[in-house]
Amino acid sequence: MRIHHNRTLIAALLAGTCLASGPVLAQDGPIKIGVLEDQSGDFAAATNVKVNAIRLATQEINDAGGIAGRPIELVIYDTQSDNRRYQEFMRRVLQQDQVDVVFAGFSSASREAYRPIVNQFNGLAFYNNQYEGGVCDANMIVTGAVPEQQFSTLIPWMMETYGPNVYTLAADYNFGQISAEWVRQIVAEQGGTMVGEEFIPLGVSQFSQTIQNIQQSDADFVVTLLVGAAQASYYEQANSASVGLPMASSVNVGQGYEHKRFTPPSLANMYVTTNYIEEIDTPESNDFVERFRAMFPNEPYINQEAANSYIGINLYKQLVERAGSTDHDAIRAVIAEGDVCFDGPSGNVCLDPKSQHMSHTIYLARVESDHSITFPEVWENITPYWLGDAGCDLTQNDPSAQYTPSNPPPAQ
């Protein structure tokens, strides 16, 4: 055993010296983009379309001559809705495939699983999902909408239209708890009352008790922040018990297209703030849907994450072309200029240099009783203000942490 022990130490000494070097960037040849998305498992319903959106953007860019003359090459892995696969494959794309940028992650848990590895290799990752907000990390660019964008628009509108008494029903994990915190805060600011707040463990599919609690309260509307296929059973069950209250959500319709999957009228009278869904009737959106369906005729639904992924690739193109390289510092210097914007399917969006999150046009989508969609209200250029206001400034320093309203960045 002693001989072996010595060998270990020598090897350790040798190896320790070559750990610090990051990925070496090739300046010509294709630009490699790693794609880690859940093409199977629990989240497949909402994420397959993201991969296709990335394929669409890639083909369009390559047909038009690539990024600064270099074609995009996609390296796609199926992460199977499994956090471990994210850890394995994030190392693989950064170390083995030496990609220039990674588009990765659906659930917040998967993002938190791969983030330490991105930081370790000083990679660059796009997270294209709407989520609970608060990630202040220079290695991350977030194109999805965050609570301040979705709730600061949705809740006041709902309270004005339906009344001040709010009941929140949220998934019992980070996304649900933090979103519920936002709802609570905004309701208080607007002078409303929380008449109930209930958290549901992931995977629960039976809601009789919850439905009764809601009926007992004198809520004017219910904020549903339910996540996952099991919890989505709530709508069917609430409808069959004739709860009949308007619902407000930041997560349904825009992500899992429940209005297409469920039988009308179980989602009737639901209001969702989303930054994109395929029903949006603007020339840009219609054009996007047409091009998407031309390439993927069988796509069930084009959701907000698909649009964000598509925008993400185009933003990256702009960043690399303006920076003149795929080097991360050069790219971040471009972001710091504060004028990285893109006119895409969802309207004009811009990257915020402080938080590296994205501004959005927020659409209020209303599900009618036949599950068609109308848009009673549109808010343009809603910025992801909270992180920057709270003290996250990635142009100054990089804490690589996730903050919440009750756990804000430490004062500078």
């Binding site: 497949a44 958290f199 629960v204 008790q209 009926q215 296929a229 409808n239 069959s240 004739s242 069930p300």
Partner: protein, 290 residues
């Protein structure tokens, strides 16, 4: 009046939890409780029943017929699997975990590839009724009635029919049964098919109330195992009281402390029951009867 309404509301919650536990565990009680096969593909039989039910309901069949189709489809698939895989595992119950887990992987991912990530639901029928100032889903009441009917039907099947006697005999003493001229292979296949069919029935019954995705079966599996284990080997002596007790625990904890404690309470109850009465409720009741 107020008091009666409160009583009704509590019983409704209890009945709802009871129905869910009984219906989802019936198939597992036959396959795991009686045959000793640890069937991790239980959820996928449920998914199969739900999918077939939804497809046939949308093709125009009335819902009860569609549910029967779902149960039948699951039963046929179950018997086919028994023929090819499960048959070889009767003496190795622990290996059945691996095999059925493999089957469950194939089923979920196969359905995802063939039918896509989601399927359109069929909507809950029958609407709701107003009792006092609260409305209740009628279909949930039907589910409760069905769960009672199901227990009764299974009791009659296993204790009052020839098939029931032969199947219990085969599973308890296969050699003796064979010596008496029973085609034990056929009985095993039929019993397994029955268990799979019951799982399919569960899927069919809950299909109108749930999201249809390939992984939908997984929401049933923990509750099913918990009920069967607390019940013990004899499904009638065990499963029914087990479902009743667990339903009380779950409904009460959920009502007072929220869904999280409902969920955790169920699991803790199992640990305690196994510790206090290792053979489950049925062994405990049997001993107490003597």
């Amino acid at each position: 009046m107020e008091f009666l309404l409160a009583i009704f509301s509590i019983s409704y919650q209890f009945g709802d939890a009871f129905a869910f536990l009984v219906i989802s565990c019936a198939g597992l009680a036959v396959i795991f409780g009686m045959m000793g096969i640890i069937n991790l593909a239980h959820g996928e039989f449920i998914m199969c029943g739900a999918y077939v039910t939804a497809a046939s309901a949308r093709a125009g069949l009335p819902l009860p017929m569609a549910i029967a189709c779902g149960a039948l489809a699951a039963a046929i698939i179950g018997m086919a699997l028994e023929r090819t895989v499960i048959r070889h595992l009767y003496h190795r119950p622990l290996d059945s975990i691996i095999a059925t887990w493999g089957i469950s992987l194939i089923a979920t991912q196969g359905v995802l590839i063939l039918l896509g990530p989601t399927m359109q639901g069929i909507g809950t029928p029958l609407g709701s009724t107003l009792i006092g100032d609260r409305s209740y889903s009628i279909y949930r009441l039907v589910l409760f009635a069905t769960s009672i009917g199901l227990l009764l039907g299974l009791y009659l099947l296993f204790y009052r029919t020839r098939f029931g006697v032969i199947s219990r005999a085969t599973i308890q003493r296969p050699d003796t049964a064979r010596a008496l001229g029973v085609d034990t292979r056929r009985v095993y296949a039929l019993t397994f098919g029955l268990g799979a069919g019951l799982a399919g029935l569960a899927g069919g019954l809950y299909a109108p109330t749930m999201t249809m995705v390939p992984t939908m079966g997984s929401t049933f599996i923990v509750e099913s195992f918990v009920t069967v284990v607390v019940g013990g080997a004899d499904i009638f002596l065990g499963a029914a009281p087990a479902a009743a007790i667990l339903a009380v625990i779950k409904a009460a904890l959920t009502a007072w402390y929220g869904q999280l404690f409902g969920q955790i309470g169920l699991l803790v109850a199992v640990i305690i029951v196994i510790r206090v009465m290792p053979g489950g409720l049925s062994a405990f009741i049997k001993r107490w009867q003597k």
